[in-house]
Symmetry: C2
Subunit: 349 residues, 2 copies
Amino acid sequence: MGRNRVTLADVAKRAGLSKTAASMVLNGREGTRLSAEAHQRVFAAAEELGYRPNVAARSLRTRKTATIAFVSDIVATTRFAGGLIRGALDAARERDHVLLITETQGDAAFEQYAIEAILDRQVDGVIYAAMATRRLAVPPAILSGPVVLLNATSAEKLPCVLPDDERAGVTVAETLLGHGHRDRIALIGRNRQKERDPEISLAAEARLRGIRATLAAAGVKLLSETFCPEWLPEHGYTATRALLGRPERPTAIICMNDRLAFGAYQALGEAGLTIPNDISVISFDDDPTASWLRPRLSTAALPHEQMGRRAVELLLDGEAESPSFVPMPLRRRRSVGPPAGSPWVAPHD
Amino acid sequence: MGRNRVTLADVAKRAGLSKTAASMVLNGREGTRLSAEAHQRVFAAAEELGYRPNVAARSLRTRKTATIAFVSDIVATTRFAGGLIRGALDAARERDHVLLITETQGDAAFEQYAIEAILDRQVDGVIYAAMATRRLAVPPAILSGPVVLLNATSAEKLPCVLPDDERAGVTVAETLLGHGHRDRIALIGRNRQKERDPEISLAAEARLRGIRATLAAAGVKLLSETFCPEWLPEHGYTATRALLGRPERPTAIICMNDRLAFGAYQALGEAGLTIPNDISVISFDDDPTASWLRPRLSTAALPHEQMGRRAVELLLDGEAESPSFVPMPLRRRRSVGPPAGSPWVAPHD
DNA sequence: CCTCGTCGCTAAACTGATTTAGCAGAGCAT
DNA sequence: ATGCTCTGCTAAATCAGTTTAGCGACGAGG
């Protein structure tokens, strides 16, 4: 790859100057006393020869590689990863950086290997990303340089980027209240593990907190809270069926994520109920399938692209206070309406 | 990052030998006449000091970076990309290589930039990936080194990795025939553009070819073929509704991809039909949602991980004939059964 | 005793950039 | 004429490895 590349020496020779001069001109160094004419000649020579610096050679001297490592537990392979990487990629490009991607697959040996591989390549910094928003233990080796945690926190109080799940909980609850739902709002997806163990999830507790605070402030209590062993479609399906078997039917269901909502749609469809006429559904994540459903699902979106972008900004530009919370915008679609049988008219959305 | 790393000189000094000796030992060079004892000392010193070579320094001399560029049009961000990257990552790790990821977003300027960025970093080779299986134009700059096309072909007959869509078409048709479906098989997702223009899709034509050849060989004709402007859920929904409005109801529907099948499920559900008792559905891709559906969808899986892996193998190990077709395994789930009203018993699956 | 080959190892060149230290010449004041 | 500063530029060191060329000691053969 690139066998006969033009080197700085070639440029210097063509410009009739020394490598030093060429280097300084091309790097736009201030305070050098090279003549305007020398500048011209160097630029012209570089242009004519199509000169591109050799990053390896440069970084050997400067210890900067303009390369960021994106290390994830397993995120790079899941559907959730796309946005994270894409955002990071964009922000990196804007800063003339490039992304080296590795995956630990949650395996200690792989992690060790991955980290050595990137450290050997002298990356300028590391973005350590998690698939699920959670607290994690950062391998000590990467603490030797700049690190930003993406979708994660750690005991070390490292700079990190997190989705604002609590605020999303507020938004979701407010939306339901705004449509006139009051005392017949059901919640699907309680999960003690996720709520209690920050190493498993930070989202569950935060979303719940936001929802509860908002409803409480409006003097509203949840009709029911259904526990689920996981946040998968089948559990949403089971939970919803159980819900429909109870005497008092809810006017709205909050699902802790879209996969649960997916299952809820299936159960509601089977029961012959229409969304949102009979029951409204609202959720979190904005999984791609949310807009495949009929009616399309209203959900608070995980701002993956923004998060990936923010991580790079934090890493390269510094500043910004540490737990950087990225807002989760509500995707207003068609799954939320006024409570069944109410004379209420939906607000514009 | 890694300010005070141990260098080869440190190792050599500790072993009481020259840098040359240390280098040769650590690289396992044959034909050197260094004593067994010298080997011992170098290994011991490297181990004790935790020596790790500086890749930049090495590659400056050797012109090998043990880095592969993964350039995609837009693939890295979609749900389809995950497996591709994951497979490539795995295969790269096995060969002690690392992946540099960039995205062109289908934009010429971005592409130009991305390619310069990776060429500046002296990557050992490039994997050029497309989101949709198609023929594309390869930017000349990357032809200066080893390239493998992933999920794509080109006019230049470069080495490439493709899913075996035609064989998948055969499998899908065979499955339906195997369950006893004959003359009432409908097809959803015909699309002239996709079938005709290889720069848009290679899959449509290949899948269709496989299906037709197989049915023809069994003396079976398709009941109907429905055209769709895109392969999205809404089009599958519309097409299925249209299908159900016809006098003769199909016993099985082949969808050209899972998103169409998703829409088909919705239409069938609304019509009160049960899968597979009333109608069987089978499809292509194995999108993650395929196993969220009720019943779970039988579909010929795009072998993304295998493909990513194969691309790296092709790039690094060479050999293997060029259009490397990766089989698409059928995920046998619950959406296919014997034709409605038939006394037929489903084969084991 | 001289030459030759082999063994075990090393000095130094080389990769392509950045950076430090400093040189030659011009202009000015003393 | 001498010393000084300023201008415009360059030689050489440096980064951390790999690779080439070859050196000194030793033993064998003539």
